[in-house]
C-alpha cells in the first residue's frame, strides 16, 4: 500500500510537470502546480506510515502554504490580465531575449 501510494505520487507529480510544460493558460498552469503539491502530500502521508506523525504535520504546513500561494498567485494573474487582457503566457514576453 505504501509502495503503491508512492508510485501514485510519482505519476501525479510527473503529470503536473507535464501540464505546466504544455499548457499555456496561466490559471491552468497554476492548477497543475497545485497537482504537484498534492502529489507531494500523498508521498508525505505515505511516509508518515513509516516514520511517524511528522509527515502529516508537514502536509498541514504544505496545505497552508498552498492556500497563501494560490491567493497571491491569482492576484498576480488578475493584475497581469488587467494589463494584457489575456492569460496566455506566450503573450507575456517582456523579459524574453
Amino acid at each position: 500500500m505504501i509502495t503503491q501510494a508512492l508510485i501514485l505520487s510519482a505519476i501525479l507529480f510527473a503529470l503536473g510537470t507535464f501540464g505546466v510544460l504544455v499548457r499555456r493558460n496561466a490559471i491552468i498552469m497554476f492548477l497543475c502546480i497545485e497537482l504537484q503539491l498534492n502529489a507531494v502530500n500523498v508521498a508525505f502521508v505515505a511516509f508518515s506510515r513509516l516514520v511517524g506523525i511528522e509527515g502529516q504535520v508537514f502536509v498541514f504546513f504544505v496545505m497552508t502554504v498552498a492556500a497563501a500561494e494560490a491567493a497571491v498567485g491569482l492576484a498576480i494573474i488578475i493584475s497581469i490580465f488587467r494589463h494584457y487582457e489575456t492569460v496566455n503566457v506566450d503573450n507575456f514576453n517582456l523579459l524574453k531575449w
Binding site: 500500500m1 505504501i2 509502495t3 503503491q4 501510494a5 508512492l6 508510485i7 501514485l8 505520487s9 510519482a10 505519476i11 501525479l12 507529480f13 510527473a14 503529470l15 510537470t17 507535464f18 501540464g19 510544460l21 504544455v22 499555456r24 493558460n25 490559471i27 491552468i28 497554476f30 492548477l31 497545485e34 497537482l35 498534492n38 502530500n41 500523498v42 508521498a43 502521508v45 511516509f47 508518515s48 506510515r49 513509516l50 516514520v51 511517524g52 506523525i53 511528522e54 502529516q56 504535520v57 498541514f60 504546513f61 496545505m63 502554504v65 492556500a67 497563501a68 500561494e69 494560490a70 491567493a71 497571491v72 491569482l74 492576484a75 498576480i76 494573474i77 488578475i78 490580465f81 492569460v87
Partner: protein, 175 residues
C-alpha cells in the same frame, strides 16, 4: 478490500489529473481538479490520515478551488475554448521529461518499502497509539503545538503577508 478501494481512488485521481491537463475549457479543468482532490482524500483515508482527508476536502476542494473558480469567472474565461496546448516536438519532449521523472521518482521512492500483509509499520503503530490517546485531530495538534509551534506561528505570519499582498496586487488603481 482496502487494496481494491485504493486502486479505484488512485485511478480516479490519475484520471482527474489527466482531465486537468487535457480539458479545453478552464472550468472543466477545474472540476477535474476537484475530482482528483476528492479521490486523493479517499487515498488519505486509506492511509489512516482521517483529519487530513477532511482538511483536503474542506480547504482544498472547497476553498482553494472556489477561489480559482472565482478568478476564472472574474476574468470571464469560462467560455474561452481556444486550444492552448502546445503540440508538436515540444510536447513530445515534455512528455519524455515528465515520464522520465515519473520513472526515476517511482524507482527511487517507490522501491523498497515492501511491508508484509497484516504487519503495521513502526510509524503507523505510533500514529495509531496517538489517535487512540488524543483522537484524530489531537494526534496532529499535539506535535503541531509543541515541537512545531514556531513553524506554526511563522505560517500564521505568512498567511497575514499573503492577505496583504493579494489585496495590494489585486486592487484596481494602484497610485
Amino acid at each position: 478490500m482496502v487494496e481494491i478501494f485504493f486502486y479505484i481512488f488512485a485511478a480516479t485521481a490519475l484520471g482527474g489529473g489527466l482531465g486537468v491537463v487535457l480539458s479545453k475549457s478552464p472550468v472543466g479543468s477545474l472540476l477535474m481538479m476537484v475530482v482528483s482532490l476528492a479521490s486523493l482524500a479517499g487515498v488519505f483515508v486509506l492511509l489512516e490520515a482521517h483529519f487530513l482527508a477532511a482538511i483536503q476536502v474542506i480547504v482544498y476542494a472547497g476553498a482553494i478551488m472556489v477561489l480559482f473558480l472565482f478568478v476564472i469567472m472574474l476574468l470571464n474565461l469560462g467560455h474561452d475554448y481556444q486550444q492552448d496546448l502546445k503540440w508538436g516536438a515540444f510536447s513530445v519532449l515534455s512528455f519524455a521529461v515528465a515520464g522520465g521523472l515519473a520513472g526515476i521518482l517511482a524507482r527511487e521512492v517507490g522501491g523498497d518499502w515492501q511491508i508484509a500483509d497484516g504487519v503495521v509499520p513502526p510509524g503507523g503503530r505510533a500514529i495509531d497509539a496517538a489517535v487512540r490517546e488524543h483522537g484524530a485531530v489531537g494526534a496532529i495538534a499535539e506535535p503541531l503545538f509543541t515541537t512545531y509551534v514556531v513553524p506554526f506561528e511563522i505560517t500564521g505570519i505568512l498567511l497575514l503577508v499573503a492577505i496583504v499582498g493579494a489585496l495590494a496586487l489585486a486592487k484596481r488603481n494602484v497610485s
